[in-house]
């Protein structure tokens, strides 16, 4: 029982971070970022390069992941999503663009880093063992703590910084924000960069545990979509709730259902469908007409 709880928190924290980035981008620009999983993978490979290959300190490598993805996110917004959104009001257009970007990132990652699974040396050794009730390697605990700290930092940033407040205003009502004097173009770019950065940060954190490979992008995006749907799209608290719920469902599923074969995700999908049938807007989303 305690083990399931610990695993749930560990998975939930990292999932929540992925979902936060996706939901932020969605809230600001109404863009469903298909390439979110690929951004996560890219972040993992950057940390792999700087920490695993070049032997730089882990913190530095992690910073590089964040910076790289933030820059990539900003550029994508400025040169691709921004112009397309301005020209066409249909949400379909941005979706095509996002799908194209997902393929593009896959191609770039394939060319630069190859198809192989890559791992890095452990950041801390040893295993925490509480009377065999909870067993968890120290590096997982560290990553989990870092993830939770990042989430808290993100929430504080959104709540109290000037940029965060502007982003929230933008997410709530684009036109009203513009009237209030928020520089919409600038903050759209910042928001996209921030969302991409979160994806890169999780990628960098998790490469130390699960390693990273090209094929992880798509499934990560799908998981992120599910979390966002559980919590309600475009709502920050919803993304966190969705991440934690999915993390716990996965932890429970792996513990309880594994004897019946690999059906955890099938069960999660089915329950998600039933849940959405009852509550289409997710847990914390606004009901819409």
């Amino acid at each position: 029982m305690e083990q399931i709880l610990a695993n749930g928190i560990y998975l939930g924290a990292q999932y929540a971070m992925i979902a936060l980035g996706l939901t932020l981008i969605f809230a600001l620009m109404n863009v469903l970022n298909f390439a979110h999983g690929q951004m996560y993978v890219l972040g993992g490979f950057v940390t792999y390069t700087f920490y695993g290959q070049l032997g730089l300190p882990f913190v530095l490598a992690l910073t590089m992941s964040c910076v790289t993805l933030a820059v990539v996110g900003a550029l994508i917004e400025k040169f691709l999503f921004g112009p397309v959104i301005r020209r066409s009001a249909r949400e379909e257009s941005t979706m095509l663009l996002a799908a194209g970007l997902a393929f593009f990132f896959d191609a770039v990652i394939l060319l630069v880093f190859g198809e192989k699974q890559r791992g890095v040396p452990k950041i801390v050794d040893g295993v925490f063992n509480w009377d065999f009730r909870v067993i968890m390697p120290y590096d997982r605990i560290l990553i989990c703590v870092l993830a939770i700290l990042s989430i808290v930092a993100f929430i504080l940033f959104m709540q109290y910084s000037k940029t965060g407040r502007a982003l929230r205003a933008l997410a709530q009502d684009r036109t009203a924000a513009q009237l209030m004097g928020v520089n919409v173009e600038r903050y759209s770019m910042i928001g996209f960069a921030l969302g991409a950065m979160l994806a890169g940060l999780v990628g960098g954190l998790l490469v130390t545990i699960t390693g990273i490979n090209l094929g992880m992008g798509g499934p990560t995006s799908i998981k992120a979509f599910m979390m966002v749907m559980i919590g309600g799209a475009g709502v920050i608290s919803g993304a966190i709730a969705g991440g934690i719920i999915l993390g716990f469902m996965e932890a429970i599923g792996l513990a309880v259902l594994s004897q019946y074969g690999d059906i955890t995700y099938l069960m999660i999908f089915v329950s998600l469908m039933i849940f959405l049938a009852i509550r289409p807007q997710g847990l914390m989303g606004k009901p819409w007409g």
Binding site: L96, A102, F103, F104, A107, L111, F225
Partner: protein
Amino acid sequence: MLKLTMGQWIGLGVFLAAIFIAVPALIAASGRTDFYFTLTSVALLSIASAGVWLMFYIGRINIGQGAFALIGAYVSAILVTKAGMSFWLTLPIAGLFAAFVAVLIGLPILRLRGVYFAMISLVLTQVVTLTALALPITNGAKGITSIPLPGAISIFGLTLVPDFASMENSRLAFYYTACFLMVLTFAAMYRLVNSRLGHICRSMQQNEELAASIGINIAYIRIVVFAISSFFGGIGGAMFGSIAQSVYPSTFVVTDSVNFMLNCFLGGLGYVFGPMLGTLVLYFGWDLLFESGKYQLLIYSSLLIAAMLVLPNGLLSLRLDMFRRSGK
């Protein structure tokens, strides 16, 4: 009751002659029989894409067509291998079964709109893949292999379609069959879109509340359209499985679902024949880029992004622009 102008009749004639006479002749002359497989795939995938296009027509972004194609492929494969049924009989059953599943799933999820429906439909593809992996009847990851080729169809001793296995060139037979199904599909789509039904669909695409306020049963129409869309997906998938003579959980995956959607975008959401052209260009483009080796995906995705920036309304919008410029 198709009311076509003279120009449209000529266009239709040219198109039919091209796919049924010119293409086989050219392939025979050039000896590139491998094109049969490519073109057959294009025809079948464009049938599935047509379904996705129809969903766009009522304002739903369907990224779940891979799920229904996979369902169709499995239904046909299971009926042929386990029950020994004729492939030709399993083809409509596969389509109908996919439509039936669509009705069951559609009841809850069609209430969702915009990106919400898009997300859940994407998840759906994953669900079906996982179901195929988990069920005993689909034989898990090993899939169903060595599916026999379609047999003969004969009525009162008259052989309408010969046994594919006895043919020396079953590729040509599959090509003709696929093209025939494609023509049928798009004829039905054209008719639907240009009748009052299409008008009703468009009203729902533009505003569901207003459509409901004038007495249209929007929930019913949504289900019907989703069922038709999935029927096309099931038919395309079943035929595909028959050609490959095997079905695996990975035969249609999330990427395929996304590609069906891209085919529609690229061809143009405003044009019935958009998905056909989009499938042709994307599939052929991908094949042609094979020469570029490891840069294949990079070039392909860059072109896709560029197309989005330059032609936000799809390839067929080019044609209309040309007409407008020449003063028509």
